[in-house]
Each structure stands twice: as C-alpha cells, then as structure tokens.
C-alpha cells in the first residue's frame, strides 16, 4: 500500500482567491467579531506590503492600500476539501478526508496505470498548480505516516524499508502526538523527560511506554509504523454537480458573467474527470436581484466534459438569453452525469474524423441558432407541398419514384401572381388531398414561364380565378 498525503496550508485563502477576478490584487481573509476583526490569512501582494496574520483589520488597511477582504468561512474550507477529494477520486478509489487540512489517498493500485511515481507526482502538482492551491505532498506506506511526514517534508517518497528510520528522525512536536490525548500534553511531558525524537520512543520497551502513557500513544505509534491498521472513512462521490457563484455587486450584462461561468465550468469539468463521467444536459440559473430566478437549460447533442468545449457551447446558448434584471448569483446544476467515452482524435482517419467534425459543427450551429434552425432534407409521402416541405407531415417516402417534376425551391406561402405569367409550359397536374384533416386543397399546378424568363410553379383552383406562385425551378 502506498499512501499520498496532500497538505493544503492555505486552503481557505486560495479557495477564496479562486472566486476573485484578479488573484494578484491584495486580498486577505478576516476573522473575529466585527469591532475586533483581525487578519487570518493574506495573499502574496498583501504580505509584500506588510500585512500579517493576527494584525487588526484597521492596521492592515493602513499598511496596504486597496486591501480587499472577505470573512473567513470554515464551511467553504470544508467544501473545497470535498471538491479536492472529488478531484483526487480521479486517481484513487480510496480517498479520505480523515485529517483536517489534508487529503490522503491510496495510490499503489493506480501506479501501474498512471505511474511511475515521479510522473504521477508531477501530474498531481501540475493539476493543483492550475487550480491555484499550494500544497505539500508525501508518499508513504501508510496514511498516518504520510500525514505526519508531510508536516516537515515535501516531495518525500518513503517505502517500507526506510519508513522506520525516516520516522525516527522526526521531532516529537511534529509527530502528530498532540491529537493523541486531549487531556494531557504528551509532547511536553516527553520533552521534559528528555526525549527529542520519535526514534527514542521506538527504542523504549513497549510495556513501559504503555504503562506510562496509555494505549492511545501506543496505538498512534503503531499506526505510524503500519502495525495497526487505520480505519478511514472514504470519500464517496455524489452523482450530481451543483455549484453557486455569488457576486458582491449585481451584474447587469451577460458579458460580466463570462469569468464566473468559466470558473464554474472548469470546476464542473474537473468534477467530471474525477468521476470519469460527462454531462449531456445542465442548467444555469441566474438569481436575480428582484424577481424569480431565471433558468437556462443547456442541452448538448453528445456527452462532453472538456472545460473549453463546455464554455464555448454554454456561451453560444447564453448569447440568445436576455437577462431579466441584475444578477446576484450564478448556479450551475448538472442533475445527472452520463458515461463518457473519450474519442481519440489522432486515431481517427477519413470518414470517422469527418463524421466527428460534422458532429461538432452540428453541435455548434444548434447551440447558437437553436434546434429548429438546422433542418434536414426529408422527403415525405404527402402530396400537399406545404405539408410535405414545411411541416414535415406524413411518413417518410421509402421508394424513390420518379414522379412529376417538382421545383427546387418552394415559396414559403403561395403568392398571388396574375400579371406575371407569360406562358404555361406544362400542366395541369391536379393535387387534391387532405380532406381528412380539414386542411384540404384542390389545385391545378402548372409549369409556367415568368415575365423575366424564369420557370415558375404556379397553381389555380379549378373553376376559380387567380394564379398563385408556389415555387421556382432553379
């Protein structure tokens, strides 16, 4: 078993920064009741100007011009941890949030697929870097050891044979002993007794140590050395995605929603990759300042999970949307995930590649223009021209019979055209149909020459006056 422990020392700050359009601007998280708020964490730009955790808010604002702040929110830290667990789920089926501020997951079973370890490590770091989370990372034979080693190491990879010696050199105050016994300060007792490092405890007779400090210390030491199994609660993925982006100021234009939308779709994409799934349909909801929320259903023709593709298609959908008022929050909700089968572009050749390109084009056109704009050309077994062409009524024609000539273009609605016809060239052809649905027609169609020499398809009702233009022979 090999366990990776990821420690996020600045999770609260970086989670909040992800929601800001300019993460480089001075920003700090504040904590405490209103009159005595103090700085809890500050980003680099703020720290460069002297802002430090623990300072009073007023003092920090005096130091740093234009310091933006947000209240510290323990709930959102937990949310971020769960999201990171969902991300890690893409690498391992055993992901645990057992330790605060950290994430542990078992990786041995995935190394054959994703490894070797140095490559996987680089990938983990690259993906976390892209997400904007600073982290420390250790891989060790058991989760407890990985968790304590990440306190002092970064990038360390320990196997079974080295574990004992690496742990032995760990200082007692960094060995996670504080959590062993809440009532007694074990670390202080031990250091006062002259112990400095974990190795010195390992060297003591176990019975003596157990008598003096109790079973819980022994258990902790056993977990570190992998002698005691550690029962962890594993992260279980949720089968749907829902996330909200709230604005400080109401947003009036669709253009102002581009950034939050991009962020939410990136998170959706990440979530989908972690679940090895895709989406076919999701919902964007705008919480309006006044009035009921406005919802846009985004339906895709195939299953997607790539952030850029999702963004492009969602944008196309939103371009047709008119906001009913200023927006206070944006929610992305995917109620159902679909199985995702990635297509390997480079492997496809000829017709398959072309079919894929056509599917993508079709998707783009429909997303922007609406499903009804792109029409197929389908021949129906229906004699009334309007019904056959415009409403697509009747069963599909199966036999390709020759039939009398038809014009290439049908005019949307027949137009009265009494003086424009010079000569009748062919006809009549009687079309009489539709008595059963009340929309019956009885017409004599002719091929006629127009005044300017073009060939037109015209009709008149038998026994009545008046010619109507119905089509052009291109």
């Amino acid at each position: 078993m090999r366990w990776v422990c990821l420690l996020f020392p600045r999770l609260a700050l970086e989670g909040a920064l992800r929601r800001r359009p300019d993460p480089e601007a001075p920003f700090a998280l504040i904590d405490g009741p209103p009159p005595r708020q103090c700085i809890r964490a500050a980003n680099r730009a703020a720290r460069d100007q002297g802002v430090r955790p623990g300072q009073a808010l007023g003092f920090a604002e005096a130091l740093c011009d234009g310091l933006e702040t947000a209240p510290f929110d323990a709930e959102s830290v937990e949310r971020w941890r769960r999201r990171l667990a969902a991300w890690a789920y893409g690498f391992s089926a055993q992901v645990s949030l057992h330790y605060p501020h950290a994430l542990v997951f078992e990786i041995a079973s995935s190394l054959a697929l994703l490894g070797p370890w140095p490559r996987l490590e680089a990938r983990l770091r690259a993906e976390l870097g892209e997400l904007g989370f600073s982290h420390r990372l250790v891989i060790a034979p058991n989760p407890a050891a990985a968790r304590v080693l990440v306190n002092v190491h970064d990038g360390l990879a320990v196997d079974e044979s080295e574990l004992e010696s690496v742990l032995a050199s760990l200082r007692l105050d960094r060995a996670g002993l504080a959590s062993v016994d809440a009532d007694r300060d074990i670390v202080q007792t031990l250091t006062r007794s002259g112990f400095q490092r974990l190795g010195e405890l390992f060297a003591l007779p176990r019975s003596a140590l157990a008598r003096r400090f109790g079973g819980r210390l022994m258990r902790h030491l056993g977990e570190l050395r992998g002698e005691w199994p550690l029962a962890l609660d594993y992260h279980r993925p949720t089968p749907r995605f829902s996330r909200t982006f709230a604005f400080d100021q109401p947003v009036h234009a669709i253009a102002g929603l581009a950034f939050p939308l991009k962020r939410l779709l990136q998170e959706l994409s990440l979530f989908l990759i972690g679940q090895d799934a895709g989406v076919e349909r999701f919902r964007v909801t705008f919480e309006l300042e006044d009035g009921p929320p406005q919802t846009v259903e985004v339906g895709l023709l195939s299953v997607h999970r790539d952030a850029d593709t999702l963004l492009e298609l969602t944008r196309a959908h939103l371009e047709r949307v008119c906001l009913a008022g200023p927006v206070m929050a944006l929610t992305l909700f995917a109620p159902r995930l679909s199985d995702y089968a990635p297509t390997r572009r480079e492997l496809l050749e000829g017709p398959a590649r072309q079919a894929q390109a056509w599917a993508a084009l079709h998707q783009r056109l429909v997303a922007r223009l609406g499903e009804s704009a792109l029409r197929p050309l389908v021949e129906h077994r229906e004699y009334r021209p309007e019904k056959a062409v415009l409403s697509g009524l009747g069963p599909r024609a199966r036999d390709a019979s020759a039939g009398p000539p038809r014009p290439g273009w049908l005019v949307p609605a027949p137009q009265r055209c009494d003086g424009d016809v010079v000569q009748l060239l062919a006809g009549p052809e009687r079309i009489e149909s539709g008595w059963w649905d009340g929309d019956d027609i009885r017409r004599d169609y002719y091929l006629a020459q127009w005044v300017d020499g073009r060939h037109a398809w015209i009709w008149c009702e038998p026994g009545r006056q008046g010619w109507y233009l119905h089509g052009w022979f291109g």
Binding site: E379, G403, L410, G471
Partner: protein, 203 residues
C-alpha cells in the same frame, strides 16, 4: 526582364495561366462540359468561394450546382444551405440525384447567416456550403474566402445583381442569365470573356 521578375516576386503582377496549371486536377468538376472546359483546372476552384450573381431564385442556380452537390452527397459528404431563397423541395432534389440524408438547410437571417457560413466553411467537414448572403459586403466576402481556404471547403455564395459592380475577393465570379447561360465576370488563373456559357438543363 529583371524588373518583371521583381514585379512577379512582389505579387503585383501574376501570370494568368501558370497558377492555374498548378491547380489542375484539384479543381472539382462542375459536371457541365462547356463550363469545365472554360474554367482553369477543369472545374470549380476547391477551397474557395465562387460567387454567383443573379436576379433571384429560379435563374438556373440549381441546375448549375446540382451535379456537384449530388456527387458530394453520394460520396457521403454533408452539404449545407444557408438561408436559401425558399424551402428546398425534397422531391426535386432527390430527382436531381442528391442524397437527401446529407443535405441540411439553415433558416437564419442577417449576421447569424454570416456566422453560420463561416463556421461551416472553417469546420472543413462539409462537401459544399451554399449561402445566400445579400447582406455580405466585400470585407465579409474576404472573411468567407479565408474561411473556405482554411477549411478547404467548396463554397458558393449567391448575391443579387446590384453587387456586380462591387469589388469581390472571390476567385470566381459568375453572373447567371436566363435560359441556363452564364457569364464569367472574374476568374483567377483564367480568362474573362463576355461570351456566354451554356450549362444545359434549365428546368
């Protein structure tokens, strides 16, 4: 001689026939013998916009294009009609030999039609794209020409006769006359002649 070379190098002057010789064989046969014989390379310029000017629907544009469209669709390549002058009548298209399963038409107006035309041309998966764009000006035609070249797609843009006098970046410009005749207004790599070319069919 050297000054002529300089002019050729700086692309201020181009040779009428040599460029066409290189393209020979790549052109897509129009299916009309007299027209193919006239056009450089023996057919429609591939990966380019061919501009067709006429007074409106019914001037033989379908008789002119149906042979190439039917060939494209029978090869399994999709064709797209963008804001056509009327609804295409499936029976007539089928009678002309077009495989209907590969035909799509888009009913859009204005800027959306231009956007759709550019998307279809750039995607590079369409056998041919036909667009009716009375609103397109010379700048937009250039955009479409670039899109057709980058997507390597055969494009036909139909415009009204008022645009005859307007400069156009399309390498081939044809004016349709009645009785299934056309006049070549511009032809890159070929000769322009006022002789009318009959392309048969009509109705």
């Amino acid at each position: 001689m050297s000054s002529l070379e300089t002019l050729l190098d700086s692309r201020q002057v181009w040779r009428a026939q040599t460029g066409a010789a290189g393209d020979r064989g790549e052109a897509i046969a129009s299916g009309h013998a007299e027209l193919d014989a006239f056009l450089p390379g023996g057919g429609w310029p591939p990966a380019a916009v061919s501009e067709l000017l006429s007074s409106g629907a019914g001037n033989g544009e379908l008789a002119l294009l149906w042979p190439v469209l039917s060939r494209m669709t029978r090869q399994g390549r999709p064709i797209v009609l963008i804001s056509p002058p009327g609804a295409p009548y499936p029976a007539a298209w089928r009678q002309a030999g077009v495989a209907l399963g590969q035909c799509h038409w888009l009913e859009v107006q204005g800027r959306e039609a231009l956007w759709a035309a550019e998307q279809c041309l750039r995607a590079g998966c369409c056998g041919a794209v036909m667009a009716w764009l009375p609103q397109a000006d010379s700048r937009l035609m250039r955009r479409l020409q670039v899109a057709a070249a980058s997507g390597n797609t055969l494009a036909f843009v139909h415009r009204p006769l008022v645009k005859v006098a307007e400069a156009s970046p399309a390498p081939l410009r044809l004016r349709l006359h009645r009785h299934a005749e056309l006049e070549v207004l511009k032809c890159r790599g070929g000769l322009v002649s006022s002789r009318r070319i009959a392309f048969g069919g009509g109705t």
